[in-house]
């Protein structure tokens, strides 16, 4: 709505000051930094596009891109679907619904670093209780994070363990905002549960779903703690995500220009995918 010019400005300025100082400025410096390099004595030298060219010529970079895209293409929809299922299960006032909801929320209370350490131990091939249980049940011990085939799937499942409850919270808030009458009316009209879900619930969930998908995408593209703690990119590069490569470039290979170039590329990719996702959930009136 239109109003006096300074009203929106007043509402926005505290946030803008905070973001400008602590996000926009450092991000700008980082992006500019991707066009520079550092000598070992700390002098900055202009490199133009050299960091990017080096990346594009690096086979392992492209392998990282492939791994990251595959990872995200699977995990983002998977987590949103899981979260939606949890939200649907948790919204009906069944007995003990509070207890169930609390149990869904529990994994949220562990940080990603602690989750990585915990699951690293639980899924340890020889010391882990999970393999202990499998052995007892007669199933051969699995490699999980140490197996080339299972590593990325294990990573997806561990991240979903942590994230499903987290995203459920948002979707639940959205579900609870849908007036009961709409659903009841559709039911009286003879719609099946699936039809009710597809034509009443989902359209009203456009905005929460858009939020969850975009936020989840950003978080998953920036994910690397489990890779750093447990797999270190392996086995044989199976979990070598882009973000891990950026982190290693900065802190192991001491090549900050390269790290910033990778970070800028990640930023660009996430922005493009987020724009696509927002368009997907665009509201009928033309407002995303």
């Amino acid at each position: 709505m239109k109003t006096r010019w300074w009203v929106p400005f007043a509402f926005l300025s505290p946030m803008l000051i905070g973001l400008a100082l602590f996000r926009f400025a450092p991000i700008f410096i980082a992006v500019i930094g991707s066009f520079f390099g550092q000598t070992i004595r700390g002098e900055t030298i202009f490199k133009g596009l050299a960091n990017y060219v080096d990346l594009f010529e690096d086979q392992s970079f492209w392998a990282s891109i492939r791994t990251t895209l595959v990872f995200n293409l699977i995990i983002n929809p998977f987590q949103v679907v899981c979260a939606m299922c949890l939200a649907l299960l948790a919204r009906r006032p069944t007995r003990f619904v509070d207890v169930f909801r609390a149990s869904f929320l529990m994994p949220m209370t562990t940080s990603i670093a602690l989750t990585s350490v915990l699951w690293g131990i639980l899924l340890d091939p020889s010391m882990g209780p999970v393999n202990g249980f499998l052995r007892w049940a007669g199933v051969p011990a699995q490699g999980f994070f140490r197996s080339g085939e299972q590593a990325i799937a294990t990573l997806i499942l561990v991240c979903t363990w942590k994230g499903a409850g987290y995203w459920m919270v948002f979707l639940l808030a959205g579900l609870l905002a849908i007036p009961k009458e709409l659903d009841e009316a559709a039911s009286i009209d003879g719609a099946s549960p699936w039809q009710r879900f597809r034509y009443v619930t989902l359209p009203m969930m456009r905005r929460p779903l858009a939020f969850v998908l975009v936020a989840d995408t950003a978080i998953n593209f920036l994910l690397f703690a489990p890779v750093y703690v447990i797999t270190h990119g392996g086995p044989n590069g199976a979990t070598h995500l882009l973000m891990f490569e950026a982190y290693q470039s900065a802190f192991a290979f001491l090549n900050h220009g390269r790290s910033l170039a990778i970070s800028t590329i990640i930023l660009a990719i996430v922005l493009v995918i987020a724009a696509f996702e927002l368009r997907l959930f665009r509201h009928k009136e033309g407002e995303p």
Partner: protein, 422 residues
Amino acid sequence: MTKLTRRQVVTGSLALGAGATLGANIARAQELTLKVVWMGWPDGQVDPLMNEFQRRNPRIKLAVEKIPFTQIFQTLEVRLNARTGDPDIYICDSPLTASYASRGHLMELDQIIDKSRFTSGGLAAGTYNGKLFSAPFGSSMQVLYYNKAMFKAAGVAEPAADPAKRWTWEQLVEAARKLSKPAENLWGFAFEQSERPYQLLPLGQSLGGKALSEDGFKASGFIDGPAFVEAYGFMQKMYTEWKVSPPGQFDPATTPELFGSGRTAMMVAGTFNNDTFKSRYPNLEFGVAPMPYFAKGKPVTPTGAWHIGVNPRTTHKEASATFIREMMSEDIHSIWFKLRPYPPVLKSIFQREAAAFNTELWKVALAELDTTAVPRPATPGFREYEDVLRVALRDIQTGANVQQALSQAAQRIDRELAKYRG
């Protein structure tokens, strides 16, 4: 009305905040505080040292930050990269001395320390380009621990404690095969740090291999040479063919638990584990033997440890020098030895704590330090070297082609080390 008030509040707070920080800065400049970044050892192993320093130097305050091991290198990178005077002092892993020094993050210590008091090994670990850049604070040594009960039960002869009669790797594998039952999660042997160059370089070095070129800039032809290929091929078979070691056991924090809870009969690990086993697994009967070697080669053991470094940009040069001198005093080294029994680097400690060295463990460890210890290669690009090699060693353990993995690693290392030439 309401909007203007809010704006006034915002500007007012900004002004207040600016004034407060200015005042705080002025106050801070008047007292002398050294900012120390230390390893996140338990408080009981850090505070006694710092308190002793404060007792002797009440006019120098210490602001000590204890950073967990998993983040110490990264945190230091951020701080040092900002190229300010913060921190004044920091803990420095000895093989990184060259890396920090070449990038201008360490102050020369030749004038501050009396080098004659130290062991040659300790000094070598902190020297770069002929100058001492990090103050030696301890050393390290690896030994072979073995579970006496498991050996007795399987009727296998124990490894000899006499370094002259130490086992070969071949002998070890032979014994391990009799002690392993992979299906029941029982193993004959495990490396404490099964993917780290610290633990595994001695294997190739035992066969005569060199980990890196003399000048510290070239890995191709060295780490992927025949000695290392043969050594790591042997190591790979421990996991894949002979099945005497648990594959995928990369976390050095859980491997001692493997030994302590009786799941592995032998383990090559640091001297420090001795105390852990005695306190956490009191019923464990274990013995100590020297680290094995390859029959056709020579015994080689790893070494190197935590040193102390000074930020050359420190604004408190005198106080920092005092700190180093105090930390290198015999009293402080003695306290440190009692808190965390690393092999000493100060010659006088050997006499002073002679009683403690009478155990089986120390007899083996000290003998090794004198005869077989080889520090990690000195190169400014040690972080890069170590990280690339780690990945290769992991992949080798899970079955990758040894020559290929090592050659690829060598090429990557060469590329990363190129920036340190000239």
